[in-house]
Symmetry: D3
C-alpha cells in the first residue's frame, strides 16, 4: 500500500500485527515456524467469505520476526531480543499507529514466551490514549479441547509440549509443505519435563532434537482442520469488536 491508500482508509482500518519468533523448531521445521503459522492464519482471514467487510478493513503490518525465545537459546538458530527491547518495539509501533489515526489493532501472536512482553508493550502504548482498542490473540487459544481430542486422542502431549510437534508440524504441512522435512521429524530422546526452570539452562533438560513431543501423525489435513478452527472462532470476534 502507498501512504495515500492508507490516508484514504485509515479511519476504518484495523491493523493486524503478526508476531513470531526466530527459534529452533526441531530437525524438520524452519526456525521461522512460529511466524509462518501466524502469518498463514492472518493471510487466510482476508480471503474468508465469512470475514465480511472486516476482510477489506484489515491491513497486515510488517510482522515482528525477532521476539523472545530464550528457552531455545541453547540450540542454534535462535535469535532473541531482550524482553524490554521487545516491549519497546511493540509500544513504539502501536503508538505509531495511533499517531497515524489508526486506532484499532489486532496482535496475532505465534509464540507463547513472547506474550507478556508484547502485552506490556500494548499496555504502555494504550495507557491514557483514550479512544483506541487493541486485541491480542494467541492462535492456539482458539482451538477447542474437543477438536484436540478428536484429532489426537491420547497422543496429545498438552499445549506446553507442543513445540515442533503435532500441531505446528501439521499446520506447516498445510501452509508450507515445501519447508517441512518430514523425514527428519524424529523427536528422539525427550527428557522428563520439569515443573520449574533452571538458569543457566543445563544440557540435561534439553531434548537433543529440539522437539518436546513427537510429531508422528501430523498431516496437512490436520493442519487444515486446526487453521479452520482458529478462523471459525477468531474472525467473528474481530468482526464484533471492530464493527
Amino acid at each position: 500500500m502507498t501512504w495515500k491508500d492508507i490516508e484514504a482508509e485509515r479511519g476504518e482500518m484495523v491493523a493486524l500485527i503478526v508476531s513470531g519468533s526466530v527459534e529452533q523448531h526441531g530437525p524438520h521445521l524452519p526456525t521461522g515456524t512460529d511466524l509462518y503459522i501466524a502469518m498463514g492464519i492472518a493471510d487466510r482471514i482476508a480471503s474468508l467469505p465469512e470475514a465480511g467487510d472486516i476482510a477489506a478493513r484489515l491491513v497486515l503490518l510488517p510482522p515482528f520476526f525477532h521476539t523472545y525465545a530464550k528457552e531455545s537459546d541453547g540450540w542454534r538458530g535462535t535469535l532473541n531480543l531482550d524482553g524490554n527491547t521487545l516491549t519497546l518495539v511493540a509500544r513504539d509501533i502501536i503508538k505509531g499507529l495511533f499517531r497515524q489515526g489508526i486506532k484499532r489493532a489486532v496482535l496475532l501472536n505465534g509464540h507463547l514466551e513472547s506474550y507478556s512482553f508484547l502485552l506490556e508493550g500494548i499496555e504502555l502504548a494504550t495507557e491514557g490514549c483514550g479512544d483506541v482498542q487493541v486485541i491480542s490473540v494467541n492462535w492456539w487459544d482458539f482451538i477447542g479441547d474437543g477438536l484436540i481430542g478428536e484429532l489426537f486422542a491420547d497422543r496429545w502431549p498438552g499445549w506446553v509440549a507442543e513445540h515442533a510437534a503435532l500441531t505446528e508440524t501439521s499446520i506447516m504441512l498445510a501452509l508450507h509443505p515445501e519447508l517441512v522435512r518430514e523425514e527428519l521429524a524424529e523427536a528422539g530422546f525427550i527428557p522428563q519435563p520439569l515443573p520449574y526452570k533452571i538458569f543457566p539452562q543445563p544440557q540435561e533438560v534439553r531434548p537433543p532434537s529440539g522437539m518436546y513431543a513427537p510429531a508422528e501423525g501430523a498431516s496437512a489435513e490436520i493442519g487444515e482442520r486446526l487453521i479452520s478452527e482458529v478462523l471459525r472462532n477468531l474472525v467473528p470476534i474481530i468482526r464484533e469488536r471492530f464493527r
Copy 2:
C-alpha cells in the same frame, strides 16, 4: 541475620526469594494474598523434617511485594511496576547475590502475570556468570491434577480462573484465617472468560467482585492439603539440585 552470619555461611547458602503482588483479590482476601501464600509456603520449607540440611541452608530474602498485575489495574488496591522495572529489580538482586558469593537461589513465585518479567531478570543476571544456579518456581505447578480432582471434582474452574477462588481462599484460610472475610466471598456475576485480551480493558470483561470463579467450598483443610502437596513435590527438588 547480621552480615557476619552471612559471611560465615554464604558458601553453603541457598537464597530463597519470594515474589507476590499487590493486587485486588476479591472482596474477601487481602491485596497481598499472592505474597502471603508464597511466603507461607517458603516459611514451612524450613520447618519441614524432610527438608534435611537444606532447611538450614535456605535463607529467606526480603520478598518482592510490588510486581506486575496489570490485568487487575481496573480494581482498587492494585499497585504495579512496569514490566521492565520488575525485570531490573530481579536482575539487580540476583546479581547482588552472586557478587556476595551466594551462587544458588530459588525464586518462589506467587503470581503468574509477573513470571516472564522475573525470568528475564534471572536470564540477565545469570548470563555469562559461570558457576551459578537459579531455580524458578510457581507454587501451583507442584500441585498434581490428581489432588485437584480429588479436592474439587467438577467445581474446578481451571488454574487460569483461580484468582481469589478455591485454592487461594483455602490456602489463606490455612495460613492466615484472620485475614479472610469469608462472609464476603461472594463471586457474584462472572463474565464469560474471553480467549483473548482487550486494551484498554473494558468494564464488561471484569467481574464486579474481582473473583473469576466462586470460592465456595474453600476450607483451611483443603488449604493444608494443597500446601503439603507443594512441599512434598518441591522440597526434594531443591535438595537434589543444591546438594
Copy 3:
C-alpha cells in the same frame, strides 16, 4: 485490606511508604535494620492518640526493602538495586497510587544513601500530575540537636557516622530487642573518616566490624526517646499537610 476497603476510603487515604535497605549493620544488628526502624516508626503513628483522624486515614503500603546501599557492598549481607532501578520502582508505585485515585502519600525513608534516587522517582511520578501531593521524610531529620546533646553529649559521632551505632542500636533495642545481639556490638578499629570517596572502595577505608562509630551506651530507653521525638515532630506535619 481488600480492594473494596480501599475503594471505599481512597478519597481520604494517605499512603505511607516505608523505605529501608538490605545492608550490613555491624556484627550486632540485622541487615534489615533500616527498614525495621522506619517501619516501627510508621506503625506507631497509627496508634498515637495525637494522630487524630490521620491515624485512620494513613494506609501502610508494602515497603521498599531493597534499595541502594552501595557503600556497604564490600560487606556480606548487602543487596542493592541500581540507582535507576530504585528510581523506577518509586516512580511506578507512586504513579500507581495516583491512577488508583489515592493522591496523597508520605515516603518515610530509613536509609540516607537511597534518598536522591527515591526523590527522583517522586519527581518523575508527580511531574504534570496536577492535584497530587507527596511528602518525603528521613526520620533522623526530625530529631533535634537538643535531644542529641542531652542523650549523647560528647559521645555523639555526628549523623554521618551513625550507622549501626548509637541511634540505630537504641531504636532497635526499643523496637526489636530480640534481633539485637548486644554482646557483639564491638566497633573495633574504625578508620579515620575521609572527606571524599574512592572507587572501587578500598579495604583500608572500611571498618572491619561494619560500624562507623561505637554503640556503647545505646539503650532501649534512649531508643524510645528518639522515636517519641520523631513522632512528636512528624505527626503534626502530616496532619497539617493532609488536613
Copy 4:
C-alpha cells in the same frame, strides 16, 4: 533453515541482515520500498556467479522492517521505532549471532535516517567481543558518480532528495513492477529544500506528494543498471573481508 542446518554450517556462515523502513514513499511506491530494495539486492547476491563460495555461506536473516523514519512521520503509512529501540534491536540480534557462534555479519541498509542508530547497535554488540566482524553498508554508497551522471545527467537531484524518486522508482520497477503505480508518480509541488531542520516539522516543508524530486524517466532498465552496479562493487568486498 532448521537449527540443524545452522549448527552444521555456522562456523563458515556470514549472516546478512537487511534493514528497511515502513515509510511513505510517494503516491506510487509502497511504504515498504526501502526494504524491498535492500532485500532485492540481498537476494541477488546469492544467485550471482561472481559471488563464489560466499553465495553459499551468506545466510539471509529476517529483516528489520520497522526502523526510524521520523522525517516522514507527517505522512500516513510511516511507522517508527524510537532511535534507542532500534539500537537495542540491532544490538540484541547481533549479540545473539555471536552467542550462536556466528561471528561474521553484513548489515545491508536501505534507509539513511536509521543508519546511526543501527551503527550504535553494532558498536554496543561488538564492543569487547574479540574475534567478530560486522560490515555495515548503505546500498547507494556503492553506486559511482559516473553511472549516476550517465543515467540521469542533469535530472539528478542529489542523493538527499532521492526519496521515492529516480533511483528508488527505477529499482522498484526492476524488482517489483507490480507494486509500482507509475501513473500516480506525480511529484507535484516540491518545497525548496532547507539546509536545516525544524521541529515539529511544519506543513510548509513537506511536499504534498511525499516525493522530494520527480521520478520522471525512471525505468526498470535503469533499475537493473543500478542493482548491477551495487552488486559489482559490493560482492567482492564481502568475499574479500570474509574470505
Copy 5:
C-alpha cells in the same frame, strides 16, 4: 545571567545550544575542535550587525561538550557518550527549556556523527508539546559549493573527509590560532576511504595521523571566509523563523 534576567526576558528568548565533541583532530588541532568551531560561530552571531534584534534575544546555553564520535574511538583523546545517553541529554535540556517558558531554540552542531542522536532528542522533547519550535543546524550545511570551489578547487576532499583538514584547520586558525600547531599538521599516510564500515574498526582503515585529508593550504583568511559564509546564510534564517 541570573535567573531574574531570564525571568524578565524569557518570552522573547531564543536559546542557542552548541554541540561539539571530544575527539581526536589530528596531530595539530585540539580534541575540542568541533566545539571551538561551533562556539566561535555562535559567538559571532550576537555581534553581527545584520543579526538585528535576534542578537539580543539569543541566549547561549552551556554547550554539549561530550557527544558521540565513536569512529575516532581508536585514537587517544576521544571521549563518548553512548548514542542513547546523548539523546537523553538533548531531550532533557530541551524539555527543560520548554518547562521554563523558553519555547524557541537553535541547536548548532559541530560534529556530524552526533547529529542523529541529537535530532532524536529534539523529537522526543518536542513531541506533543504544541507551541514550541526548535531548529537544528550543521554549520557546514551553510557553506555553498561555490565558495568551496573558489577556495579549494581540486584540493577539496569532500566534506566526509573534512576532519582536521582544510576547513576545520582554517577556521581554527581564524578563531584560535594559539591552539593550532601548524607545524604538526602532517596528514601522512591516508588509507583509501571505504564506502562501508567495519566493526570493530581495524587498524588498517585508520590514518595514523588521525587526518582523513591534508590540511595544506589552510589559512586564517580562508577560515574567516568560511565563517562569514555560514553567518551570512544562517542568521537571516534564525531572524525569519523566530521573528
Copy 6:
C-alpha cells in the same frame, strides 16, 4: 591538547572532571555559579606550587555543566538532566577514560543535589574494571568548621542553606567579581526551612529571591580564604592517592 599529547602522557595522567549545575543562584549570581566555583578551584590546583608533579599530570576534562538541580526547577534559569541521564553521562565518560588507558580520575563536584547520581555513574563505570581509581570530591567537604567559625561566627546558616549565600558569593567575588551583581544580593523573605520535602514543590517553601540565607558580609577576601582552605586540604590527598 591534541590526541598525540594524550597518547604520550596518558599512563601518568589523572583526569579531572568538574561538575556544576545550571541553576538559579539568587538575584546576584549567574546560573552557572556551581560550575564557575568548581572550575576555579580546579584551575588553581595546577598552578599551586605545593601540587608538585601532580600539577603536570592533572588534565582538566570538559566539565559537566548540565546536572541535576530539580529543587530549583521552580525558578527560571534552571536546566536539568533526569537523574538517570546524569548517571549515564558520568558512566560513559569515565568508562571512556578507562578505554583510553587513563585509569585515574578525580571528580570535583560543585552541586550537592547531583552527587548521588554522579556517584552511581562512577560505580557503574568502575565495577569489574580492576586496576582503576576514581576519587569524588565535594569542595565544601574540605572546609573545616574552624574556618567557618572564624569567618562567619553566628551569621553561619549551615551548609544546607548555603545556596547563593555567604560562601558561594564570596568565592565568586574572588574568582569572577565581574559576574556578581552585589547590589542585587538581597535575600528578602526566607521561608522557615522544612525538615522534609513536598512534591510538587509549593510556592510557599520557595524564597522569592532564590536565596536560602543572606549573603551580607561576603567578600572576595573571604572567598580567597575558602579556596585556599579547599586547596590546602585537597591537593595533598590527590598527590597521595595518585602517587
